[in-house]
């Protein structure tokens, strides 16, 4: 039995196509070989293939036999236009004996189509999706039989398999490249906090990833809590697109901001939204809003001119993903900028202080208060270069408590020590500074006079006697006979064991900051008025030096506070912003990676071709690498394990509260603290626990809009196994809707909330093997209770 000739043709064509499909050629070459086989098989002299382009809206000539090769890759028809466009749209085959008389035919002279008289076209179908159109052309008049049309249709089906797998590879490759660039851009976004640098970085990367001609970025006035202020704040414009931007920029931005949605214009000359201003321009534009916490903070606009390709939906998706990261990075940079300004103020203040510091350094050798007092008193008691009194005591006032307190006393304890010291001074001719540098003239700390000095403590009340009056009246007293002087209380006389002494006030900038008391216990030399005048001048110098030292130490504390606040602000905001961004990007990247990798694995099980297997392995290993990168970065940014050290929980509280003191006061919130010393030290990461406490205190503070009381309590649990800390407020309490969401990341009821405070706190506490719970008090307000295990000694 012989086969029908047509069937034989069909079989040989199909088996040939099968061989070509599994060859190592690229798609273009495969198509070229396939149409040649088809053309010969049907016995005609021309053939061609059109495929749908990236946008799915046009067909483009991919391979041709008998036509001008220059047309390949160039000749396009929109869907529905020309024979190719019509077949692709209608998805039905078409045989035309005389195409030139058909109204659907569009003559394009550059193709060389006029060499042919008849044609048959069939759609390349994959289920109900059309990939393109295959043509067979004939130089002779040809009335194609239905079996000839069937051959072409069957062939077209076979081709669809080749195209599908190639497109799948291409698609995966494209997406992988895109993900890689999303990832790269995202990483780059975290590399700088300089706003201008950041914008040009975003512009450069998006422009090149989308093969656009240029980019503009407009930032709206950054939210300073002032609602809908939408002034333009900062603009970045690529020079390459400056001209086009003047035509379209404003319209695009206005629409994007208004709709809070990305806007894609494939062709400005065809789009109703910009046609009126389009003129001669045939440009493709993509505008995507930067959205941070539900508000539009800016717009990125990309332009593709006629030299480039029009944007498609995929590009819009891509840019939207980038924009979500960029919005956070921009916000972050803005925040940093604001903080730097704040730190700038602090620097000015520090500078003011440091001028004082320098003056202070010039005036005395040290700003260390303890050392300074010792120098002053040594000077007062030293013969030769000093003032030469036997003993001296220095007292300082505490303005807050209104108490005058003896700080230090210097002088020999006995006649023996006195004469030894003074002969040495006389013999060695050392200066005061030399004495100070080479050691102490007298036994220091636990000398008797130092003990005496530190026992003196009184209210600054005139009734307290001569010392209080020295300070209050800012004048000196020369007590000649303590026993009969009504201004000398008996206990002072008893502690000093001397009947004559003198006092001078320490006055700095008009304020009495303390007093110096001197006597001549051993030599019994009377203190003269001249002595007093000299001592007063010296006291004046000393007071300034002391004042400077005090300011300096305040400044150090303040600087430290500012630094702590600054660091904490920067740290928490940056971490939160970075975390949000990373989580966002992870989500965006991980999902498509799962599809890419997951389907590639499935593909691997179906493919036998060794070359294809090689490609699949490459894709899989790259997907694995991307997954690894995501994992590592997240671990670094989000989940740094605790670094344990023995630390007092109470100390942490005492460190955190002062940071919020000012703000709490301004908000009319008072602090009630009840810290039990019984809880002792715990194994913890002090930074992390501090972060946890900061988050809870901040939430409590933010909950009390109209003032109230912040309660911080620590105590050991009943079984002493845990240290418990309660942070309570008198705010509205946790609303029922919030209850189950509280530890959800990104859950926030605040306009500027991150919704990460509690999740982070929760994680930290968990990492410490502790727990955290909350409840609403009957009396109103919320209480967060945190438990951390007490180390169990073996």
């Amino acid at each position: 039995m012989t086969m029908e000739p047509v069937e034989r043709t069909e079989l040989s064509i199909l088996s040939e196509i099968g061989r070509i499909s599994t060859s190592a050629d690229d798609l273009h070459r495969k198509l070229q070989r396939i149409i040649e086989v088809v053309m010969r098989g049907i016995g005609k002299d021309g053939a061609s293939v059109f495929l749908l382009d990236r946008s799915g809206k046009n067909v483009i000539l991919e391979a041709a036999m008998g036509l001008n090769q220059e047309a390949v890759g160039k000749l396009t028809f929109p869907l529905g236009k020309g024979i190719a466009g019509w077949v692709a749209e209608q998805k039905v085959p078409l045989a035309l004996a005389d195409p030139y008389s058909d109204p659907r035919f569009q003559y394009v002279p550059e193709t060389g189509i006029e060499r042919f008289k008849s044609l048959v076209a069939a759609p390349i179908m994959d289920e109900d999706r059309c990939f393109g159109v295959i043509f067979v052309l004939s130089g002779q008049n040809w009335n194609a039989t239905s079996s000839e049309v069937t051959i072409l249709t069957t062939t077209a089906n076979q081709i669809s398999g080749v195209i599908r797998s190639t497109l799948l590879f291409q698609d995966i490759e494209d997406r992988l490249a895109r993900l890689a660039s999303i990832y790269e851009i995202s990483m780059a976004l975290t590399s700088t906090l300089d706003l201008n640098q950041l914008l040009s970085l975003i512009a450069r990367n998006t422009t090149s990833s989308l093969r656009a001609q240029g980019c503009t970025i407009h930032l709206l006035d950054l939210p300073a809590g002032d609602g809908e202020n939408r002034e333009l704040r900062l603009t970045f414009i690529d020079d390459a697109v400056r001209d086009i931007d003047t035509v379209f920029g404003e319209r695009m931005q206005t629409n994007t901001i208004r709709d809070k949605r990305p806007l894609l214009i494939a062709d400005t000359s065809q789009d109703a939204r910009v046609q009126d201003i389009s003129n001669q321009h045939r440009v493709s534009i993509l505008s995507v809003p930067l959205i941070f916490h539900d508000r539009v903070t800016g717009v990125i606009t990309l332009y593709s001119t006629e030299q480039g390709q029009p944007f498609i939906d995929d590009d819009l998706q891509f840019l939207t993903t980038i924009a979500s990261g960029a919005a956070v990075a921009v916000e972050n940079a803005a925040l940093f900028e604001r903080e730097e300004r704040m730190a700038g103020d602090a620097r000015v203040r520090a500078q003011e202080f440091s001028i004082l510091y320098d003056v202070g350094t010039a005036m005395s050798a040290t700003l260390n208060l303890d050392r300074l007092l010792r120098i002053i008193l040594t000077a007062a008691t030293m013969g030769g270069t000093g003032l030469g009194f036997n003993r001296a005591i220095l007292l300082l006032t505490n303005e807050r408590t209104n108490i005058l307190q003896g700080m230090m006393g210097v002088g020999p304890t006995s006649w023996d020590e006195a004469s030894r010291a003074w002969t040495e001074v006389a013999r060695k001719h050392k200066s005061l500074m030399e004495w100070i540098q080479t050691g102490e003239l007298f036994e220091s700390r636990d000398s008797e006079i130092n003990e005496v000095a530190r026992r003196i403590r009184m209210h600054m009340d005139p009734d307290e006697g001569v010392l209080a009056r020295t300070v209050l009246e800012k004048r000196s007293f020369n007590v000649l006979d303590a026993a009969s002087d009504p201004l000398v209380p008996k206990d002072l006389r008893d502690t000093l064991r001397v009947n004559s002494f003198a006092t001078v006030p320490l006055v700095a900038k008009g304020r009495a900051i303390g007093a110096i008391l001197v006597d001549n216990l051993f030599t019994r030399r009377p203190i003269t008025d001249h002595d007093i005048r000299f001592l007063t001048m010296f006291a004046h110098q000393a007071a300034l030096a002391i004042d400077n030292a005090v300011i300096h130490s305040n400044m150090e504390t303040m600087n430290r506070d500012i630094r702590v606040i600054h660091e904490q602000l920067a740290q928490s905001e940056k971490m939160a912003a970075l975390g949000t961004m990373m989580a966002e990007i992870t989500h965006e990247i991980r999902n498509p990676l799962v599809s890419i990798g997951g389907f590639t694995r499935r593909l691997a099980r179906k493919v036998t071709d060794p070359d294809a297997k090689k490609y699949i392995d490459i894709i899989l290993s790259e997907v694995g690498r991307l997954e690894g990168i995501i994992h590592d970065n997240l671990a670094y940014i989000k989940n740094v394990g605790p670094q344990f050290s023995r630390t007092s929980l109470n100390n942490i509280v005492e460190e955190v509260l002062p940071v919020y003191e000012d703000e709490l006061r301004q908000r009319g919130i008072n602090i009630e603290r009840d810290l039990s010393p019984e809880i002792g030290s715990l194994d913890m990461d002090p930074q992390q626990i501090k972060q946890a406490v900061v988050n809870l205190v901040a939430n409590a503070m933010e909950a009390m809009e109209n003032g109230g009381t912040l309660t911080v309590r620590t105590y050991p649990s009943a079984d002493s196994r845990d240290a418990v800390m309660e942070i309570g407020d008198t705010g509205p309490g946790i609303s029922p809707e919030s209850m189950h969401n509280l530890f959800n990341p990104y859950y926030t009821t605040k306009v500027r909330g991150t919704g990460l405070g509690l999740p982070i706190t929760h994680r930290i506490v968990k990492a410490h093997k502790g727990n955290i719970v909350f409840r609403n008090k009957e009396t109103g307000g919320a209480v967060f209770t945190l438990r951390l295990p007490v180390p169990q000694e073996k």
Binding site: A583, T586, H587, R590, N591, P592, L593, V594, S595, I596, G597, G598, F599, T600, R601, R602, L620, V623, G624, E627, H631, L634, K638, N639, H740, N741, F743, N744, P745, P759, H762, R763, K766
Partner: protein
């Protein structure tokens, strides 16, 4: 045949999970958002749900809460792109927590462990 409901707002992931799980011999239905997931549970009985945590519209956690309110005994596997909340949500909220990966072994193992 045991029935699984796959909930994920990414169509491709639904498709992937479906193909992988069908190959293991389960009957799979997919839902692209929380709302239609709940609707699917109203219509038919399922033996297991895999649930994305972060979706547009009704969030995964919200969906999980609704599911557990309907039927606390229905096993739910959270399948999430976030790995850092595994500890936070894994234990108290759901029966298992897997991090989405191109390698579906974790998904298959977890499903097998729960459904046998």
């Amino acid at each position: 045949m045991k029935k699984i409901l796959v909930v994920d707002d990414e169509e491709n992931i639904c498709k992937l999970y479906r193909e992988e799980l069908e190959e293991m011999g389960y009957e799979v239905t997919t839902a692209l958002d929380g709302g239609s997931a709940i609707a699917a549970l109203e219509k038919a009985r399922y033996d297991l749900v895999t649930l994305d945590m972060r979706m547009k519209g009704m969030d995964g956690i919200e969906t999980l809460r609704k599911m557990k309110e309907r039927d606390a005994s229905l096993p739910v596997i959270i399948s999430s792109a976030y790995e850092e909340y595994k500890n936070d949500f894994g234990s108290w909220a759901s029966d298992a927590y897997i991090v989405k990966s191109a390698d579906t072994a974790a998904l298959r193992d977890t499903v097998k462990k729960i459904l046998g």
